[in-house]
C-alpha cells in the first residue's frame, strides 16, 4: 500500500508540469481571447472597456464574412472527401505491398512531406502551377497551348494544395484499419460466394469506417484552420475565415474582431468534429463489447 501511495504522488508530480504549462500558455490565452471577443473597438482600432456582442454581430451580418464561414466549411468538406477517396487506394497499396522494402518506401513517400514545412510543400505548387511554372512550361513546349494557363489564385488551387498536404493524415488511419482487420474475413466472404468487389463493399469498407472517420476528423480540422496555404496559393482575396483572421490581426489590427472570428471558426470545427466523433463512438459500440 505504501508503495502505491508513493507511486501515485510521483506520477501526479510527473503530470503536473505539462498540465501547468498548457493551462498557462494554452488555456489562459484562449480564455482571454474569448473574453476579448466580446469587447468593442473604436474607429482607431483601440479596444474599449465595454462588452457586447458587437464583434459577433459584425461577423454574422457582413456578407463577406458569412460567405467566408460557408466557404471555409465547404472547402474543408471537399478536401476531406477528396482525401478519403484518394487515400483508399493508397492505403490499400501500402498494406498489400508484397515486399517490406516497398512498404517502407511508400511510408517514406507518405510521411516525409509531413516533416517538411508547410511553406515548402505549398511553394512546390507555386512552382508547378504558376504562369511560368513547370506545367505551363511543359504544355507550351509540347505546343498544347499557346498562352500560359492561370492555375493559381483560385479556390481549386487551394483545394489541390490542401489535398496534397493533408493526404497522409487520411491514408495512415485507413491503413491502420485495414491491418487491424481479421485476415480471414475476406477469404470467409469469398468462400460464401461473394466476389472481390462485393467483398470490398460489404466487408472491407464497413470495417474501415473507424479509419475513415479518424482521417476525416484530422483532415477537416487542418483544412478549416489553414491560412498559410491559401495565402500563398490562393491569394489574399479568397473568402476563407482563417485568411480573414490573419488579415484582421496583421493588417487591420482589430484583435477583438479576429478573436470573434477565431471562436466562430473553432465552433464550426468543433461541431463537425464532434459529429464525426459521435458517429465513430456509435460504430465502435456496435462492434465491440
Amino acid at each position: 500500500m505504501r508503495i502505491k501511495k508513493k507511486n501515485q504522488r510521483f506520477h501526479w508530480f510527473m503530470l503536473l508540469p505539462a498540465c501547468l504549462f498548457l493551462v498557462v500558455f494554452l488555456l489562459a490565452p484562449l480564455v482571454m481571447m474569448f473574453v476579448l471577443s466580446f469587447r468593442d473597438v473604436d474607429s482607431m482600432m483601440n479596444t474599449l472597456q465595454s462588452y457586447s456582442l458587437s464583434q459577433y454581430l459584425h461577423v454574422f451580418t457582413t456578407d463577406a464574412y458569412v460567405k467566408a464561414i460557408g466557404s471555409t466549411v465547404w472547402v474543408a468538406l471537399q478536401t476531406t472527401v477528396i482525401c478519403l477517396l484518394m487515400a483508399y487506394p493508397a492505403a490499400y497499396v501500402l498494406v498489400k505491398a508484397p515486399h517490406p522494402r516497398l512498404r517502407a518506401f511508400f511510408y517514406i513517400l507518405l510521411v516525409s512531406p509531413l516533416l517538411t514545412s508547410v511553406v515548402i510543400r505549398t511553394f512546390a505548387w507555386i512552382v508547378l502551377l504558376s504562369q511560368n511554372g513547370l506545367i505551363n512550361g511543359m504544355l507550351i513546349d509540347l505546343h498544347l497551348i499557346e498562352k500560359p494557363l492561370s492555375m493559381l489564385w483560385n479556390m481549386n488551387a487551394v483545394i489541390i494544395a490542401y489535398v496534397q498536404v493533408m493526404l497522409p493524415f487520411a491514408v495512415l488511419p485507413i491503413a491502420t484499419s485495414l491491418t487491424d482487420m481479421d485476415r480471414h474475413l475476406r477469404p470467409a466472404s469469398m468462400s460464401l460466394g461473394a466476389g472481390r468487389i462485393r467483398t470490398f463493399f460489404h466487408v472491407t469498407l464497413p470495417l474501415t469506417i473507424p479509419g475513415m472517420i479518424t482521417g476525416a476528423i484530422i483532415v477537416f480540422s487542418l483544412a478549416a484552420g489553414s491560412y498559410i496555404t491559401p495565402l500563398l496559393v490562393g491569394g489574399r482575396m479568397q473568402p476563407l475565415l482563417p485568411l480573414s483572421i490573419y488579415q484582421q490581426v496583421m493588417q487591420v489590427y482589430n484583435l477583438p474582431l479576429a478573436a470573434a472570428m477565431s471562436f466562430t471558426l473553432l465552433i464550426c470545427v468543433l461541431a463537425v468534429v464532434s459529429l464525426l466523433s459521435y458517429l465513430l463512438k456509435r460504430w465502435e459500440a456496435r462492434m465491440h463489447a
Binding site: 510527473m14 489562459a28 490565452p29 484518394m86 487506394p89 516525409s112 512552382v127 496534397q164 484552420g225
Partner: protein, 267 residues
C-alpha cells in the same frame, strides 16, 4: 490469396495503378522542387538540361538566410529538450495513473494538435503582448513547445505501452523507490519513444510557420518565416535550395524514427 481470373487481374491492375498515381501525386511537388533547386535558371525546366548548385551557394552566402538559420537552430536546441522533458513526463504519468476524467486530461494534453493553428497563433500573440514579450525568442520557444510536445507524448506513449509494468514492480520489490525505478528501469527502456518524439518535435519546430508568423519580430525571423516572406514578396529561386535542405532533413529524421520505434505505430 493468389486466385487470379481475368477480371480479378484487371481489378488488381486498376487498384495498383490508382494507388501508384496517388503516391506520384504526393511526390511530384518534392520532385519539382529538387529539379528547380539544381536548375541553373530561375525557372525549372523539364526535362532538365543542366545541373547547377548555384542556388545553394546563394543561400550560404546570403547573410539573411544565415541569420535565420542561426535563429532556427538556437530555437531547436532550446525547444527540443523542453518538449522531451514535458512530453515524456506527461506521457508516463498518463500511462500509470488512472482517475476519473483521465480521458479529458489526455485530450487536453493532445489538444494543440487539434486546434486550428491560426487560432493558436493569435491566442499566443495576444498572450505575449499582454505579458510583454512578444517578438522575443521566448515567445517562439513557448509556441514551438506547445505544438511540439504532443508528438513526444504520442511517441513515448507507444514505448510505454510496450513496456511491461511488472518490470517496475520488480524493481520496487527489490527496494528501489519510484524515482530510482524511473531513472534506472523505465527511462532506458522507453528511449526509442523519446528519441522518435524528440526528432518529431525538432523537425516540427524547424519547419513551424503558422504560429511563428504571428509572434516573430524582425529580430527573430526563422527560416520558414523568411521563406514565406521571400515567396510572398520576391521570386527568389534560392527558396528551392532551402526546400531541398528541408526535404533531406525530413527524410533523415524519418529514418531515425523508423529505426527507433517504427513509423506505423506513431501515426
Amino acid at each position: 490469396m493468389r486466385k487470379k481470373s481475368i477480371s480479378d487481374r484487371l481489378l488488381s491492375v486498376l487498384i495498383w495503378t490508382a494507388g501508384s498515381l496517388v503516391y506520384l501525386f504526393l511526390t511530384v511537388p518534392v520532385l519539382v522542387i529538387v529539379l528547380s533547386a539544381f536548375s541553373p535558371n530561375a525557372f525549372p525546366e523539364f526535362p532538365p538540361t543542366s545541373f547547377s548548385v548555384r542556388w545553394f551557394h546563394e543561400v550560404v552566402s546570403n547573410p539573411e538566410w544565415m541569420e535565420s538559420l542561426r535563429i532556427s537552430v538556437i530555437l531547436l536546441l532550446i525547444v527540443t529538450p523542453l518538449t522531451v522533458l514535458l512530453g515524456t513526463m506527461a506521457s508516463y504519468a498518463l500511462a500509470r495513473l488512472s482517475f476519473k476524467g483521465k480521458e479529458a486530461v489526455q485530450a487536453f494534453i493532445l489538444s494543440p494538435l487539434m486546434i486550428p493553428q491560426v487560432v493558436l497563433g493569435i491566442a499566443m500573440l495576444y498572450l505575449f503582448t499582454a505579458m510583454g514579450f512578444t517578438g522575443s525568442l521566448w515567445a517562439l520557444v513557448i509556441g514551438h513547445v506547445i505544438i511540439g510536445f504532443p508528438y513526444v507524448v504520442r511517441t513515448v506513449g507507444v514505448s510505454v505501452s510496450n513496456l511491461d509494468p511488472r518490470l517496475e514492480l520488480a524493481s520496487m520489490n527489490l527496494g528501489a523507490g519510484p524515482i530510482r525505478t524511473f531513472f534506472r528501469v523505465t527511462l532506458p527502456l522507453i528511449k526509442p519513444g523519446i528519441i522518435a518524439g524528440g526528432v518529431f518535435s525538432a523537425v516540427t519546430s524547424f519547419g513551424e510557420i503558422s504560429i511563428s508568423l504571428f509572434v516573430s519580430s524582425p529580430q527573430t525571423i526563422t527560416i520558414p518565416v523568411r521563406t514565406f516572406n521571400y515567396i510572398e514578396q520576391t521570386f527568389d529561386p534560392s527558396v528551392n535550395a532551402i526546400s531541398v535542405i528541408f526535404i533531406i532533413i525530413s527524410i533523415i529524421a524519418l529514418l531515425i524514427i523508423e529505426k527507433t520505434i517504427g513509423l506505423s505505430k506513431v501515426m
